[in-house]
């Protein structure tokens, strides 16, 4: 862009009623890139940072993903009788931080040959051990990947089916709508847990992805209904009618004009579906209704603690039962807070207020060029 162009534009902006063919191109490529970046990345981030929900939720979820991917490779799985059985959680309490021994110690870590030393925190059985003398904290970390896989599979399945059923029913209307909504209502009424438990008993699935999908079979009807009613309003918009008048196929109209509008709501609900799947999976493992695989699992840990009489003898085995429970609550809290944060990020009014390129009432206030 040379000086002449800018000059030209500045004089032109004072004029009214410029014929369309003489109107200067309002944005350069850099400006367009900046605008895209601003609308899709920067302003959502700015909205996200105005509230505590998004940072907290994102931090918790990132921590779990890191634990489940990198953590399991760095930290070895616990072995039977590697430590005294029924060691309590947080031995030594807060005093253990300053004194040596107990669950936490400050040690200095030397960095290879460089001669540098760093202060480092050494944890020793922070959450205690179980009846078999296994470190609970490491067991929980090794149970994380399965949880993440189930949550992912369940969320993808539930939102996928809901999106398909909801958009097709809402857009096509008529008989297809009635049939699809009847099916949705039927699935909504069937108490799913007995069915899931029965299928699990017959098929004995152990793959976390399969279990995630199985647990999500009753998770889509609510979202499908909500999406359908949104599509009902979207389909009367003029741009959808224009697309139909142009003779575009329903699949194209759905893909290009309808579904992008539904994505925010769908994403928010995907987080909720993930939480529901996690709740159910831990519950079923806890009751021993799902086949126990070879890997560590939060629900199985709870089941073993429950069988060992953790309820009636809290002092001895309570920490064994409560540790997976606490982790589960933190994980689901992260998912809920994250979805609430997403809700704010996708709120168009909030986003416009935090965007540099999209003005409020004065639409044309584009930031000046270079």
């Amino acid at each position: 862009m040379d000086g002449h162009d800018i000059d030209d534009r500045q004089t032109r902006t004072d004029l009214f009623d410029v014929p369309p063919e003489e109107r200067p191109s309002p944005t350069s490529r850099t400006e367009r890139w900046y605008r895209t970046l601003d609308v899709w990345v920067l302003s959502p981030l700015r909205v996200a940072m105005t509230d505590w929900r998004m940072p907290v939720g994102a931090t918790i979820l990132t921590a779990f993903v890191v634990l489940g991917t990198v953590g399991v490779r760095l930290i070895s799985a616990p072995a039977v009788s590697e430590a005294p059985v029924y060691t309590g959680a947080f031995r030594g309490g807060m005093g253990a931080i300053t004194s040596s021994g107990g669950w936490i110690d400050i040690v200095s870590l030397s960095l290879g040959q460089t001669g540098l030393t760093l202060p480092w925190v050494a944890l020793s059985l922070p959450l205690g051990t179980d009846r078999f003398g296994q470190d609970l904290a490491r067991g929980l970390i090794h149970g994380t990947p399965a949880m993440l896989k189930m949550a992912l599979a369940g969320a993808v399945f539930a939102t996928g089916v809901a999106l398909l059923v909801g958009t097709v029913a809402g857009y096509r209307g008529g008989v297809i709508d009635s049939v699809l909504m009847t099916i949705t209502d039927i699935v909504m009424t069937i108490p799913a847990l007995p069915l899931i438990v029965l299928l699990a008993a017959v098929y004995q699935p152990t793959d976390p992805f399969v279990i995630g999908v199985l647990l999500a079979i009753d998770n889509w009807p609510g979202l499908a209904r909500a999406l359908r009613s949104q599509v009902l309003t979207i389909r009367t918009e003029s741009y959808v009618e224009a697309a139909r008048a142009m003779g575009l196929s329903p699949a194209t109209v759905l893909r290009r004009d309808v579904i992008p509008q539904l994505m925010p709501y769908t994403l928010i609900n995907a987080a909720n579906a993930a939480r529901a799947v996690i709740f159910e999976s831990v519950a079923l493992y806890f009751l021993g209704l799902l086949p126990i695989g070879s890997t560590f699992n939060w629900g199985v840990m709870m089941n073993q603690a429950y069988q060992a009489g953790a309820l009636s003898n809290i002092d001895r085995a309570g920490h064994w039962l409560f540790a997976p429970m606490c982790l589960l609550v933190v994980f689901s809290f992260g998912l809920i807070v994250f979805s609430q944060g997403l809700d704010r990020v996708f709120n168009p009014q909030l986003r416009a207020r935090h965007s540099n390129t999209v003005g409020g009432d004065d639409e044309m206030s584009v930031p000046a060029g270079e």
Partner: protein, 339 residues
């Protein structure tokens, strides 16, 4: 009127659909119940050293499940349907050796008792709480309760049940750790028995109350905030209507509508959760039988549980549907235009 007929027809369709599902699960799953039972009986016969009589085994399977494995499939399906719909014959439990229908029919009221009270109590409190939060939107109460509701909704109900049991029942000894009533009392219409029934139900009901707590309150808050911004509320205020009338007839009625659907979903989810809850509280309702049936591979009982839960949920949803027409006049409008 048309609406009521439509919903009733749909309930019947759902029921037939569920019976069909249970039949196919029974019959067609590879390694499914009928096959498993046949094999089990063959093994038992061989273990006894006796002769394997296929016809006799098929007869035994038929008595227990209501399915005759040697008949053509459509005939099996029809006779299965007939025995369930016309004769309420759900087969015989392998574990308890009693008719499934009678077993579950006596257990059902207990499940409904502890589920419905928790659900209704939770719904009522959530609606009130959400409305109050919306009224003080942005205030200290609203912000504090939003955080509390978010935290409580991230705690699964069975975690609550475990905490209740561990601390209130086992540690403090305030509540019984299981059972439906004190066996020392005589069942019937007398005060000690009824008091003990209530006493044993407090923890399960309190847990059921927690199931929907939080999420519903937040939803109600959101709806109320939206309704409060509507212009008809302003018009009502300008007309000089009383605050109570605006709060009840204008705000609450409109804000509650979306929650009513979630109540319907709640009915089926609370029965689902009763499998876990009744097992934790050792409360012999239908959910408790499910667990036992699974442990003993008692497929007739398991199918019976599935059908029972569906029927009760359908009845609950039907009641909710019929009353929905009363609070939302738009429910009677027809279908959408077809493209």
């Amino acid at each position: 009127m048309q609406y009521i007929v439509k919903r009733t027809v749909q309930a019947v369709i759902t029921l037939l659909f569920v019976v069909t599902i249970s039949f196919f699960l029974y019959r067609l799953l590879p390694g499914g119940p009928v096959e498993a039972m046949q094999q089990q009986l063959v093994q038992e016969a061989m273990a006894d050293g006796g002769q394997v009589n296929v016809q006799r085994i098929n007869r035994m399977v038929a008595v227990r499940t209501g399915i005759r494995p040697d008949e053509p499939l459509y005939q099996q399906y029809l006779s299965y349907m007939e025995s369930i719909v016309l004769h309420q014959d759900f087969g015989t439990s392998i574990w308890k050796n009693e008719p499934v229908f009678e077993l579950l029919f006596t257990a059902m009221p207990w499940s409904v008792f502890i589920s419905i009270y928790g659900l209704l109590l939770g719904f009522g409190v959530n609606v009130l709480l959400g409305a109050v939060m919306a009224y003080h939107e942005g205030g200290r109460f609203d912000r504090a309760m939003s955080v509390v509701a978010t935290i409580t909704s991230s705690v699964p109900y069975y975690v609550v049940a475990i905490l209740f049991l561990a601390f209130l029942a086992f540690e403090a000894g305030l509540f019984p750790t299981g059972g439906r009533y004190n066996p020392a009392t005589t069942p019937g219409f007398n005060l000690p028995f009824m008091a003990s029934v209530v006493y044993h139900a407090i923890l399960p009901i309190a847990t059921g109350f927690v199931v929907g707590f939080g999420t519903q309150a937040l939803a109600m808050r959101g709806n109320s905030v939206r309704v409060l911004g509507e212009e008809y509320i302003r018009v009502a205020q300008l007309r000089g209507l009383g605050e109570f009338r605006i709060a009840t007839r204008y705000v609450t009625r409109n804000a509650i509508l979306p929650l009513y659907t979630s109540l319907m979903v709640g009915i089926s989810s609370i029965f689902s959760s009763s499998i876990i809850m009744e097992q934790l509280y050792s409360y012999p309702g239908v959910g408790w039988y499910t667990f036992g049936a699974l442990e003993h591979r008692d497929y007739p009982l398991l199918m019976g549980v599935f059908l029972f839960f569906t029927i009760v949920t359908l009845l609950g949803v039907l009641v909710a549907d019929l009353t929905y027409g009363l609070i939302d006049p738009r429910a009677n409008t027809g279908d959408t235009e077809s493209y």
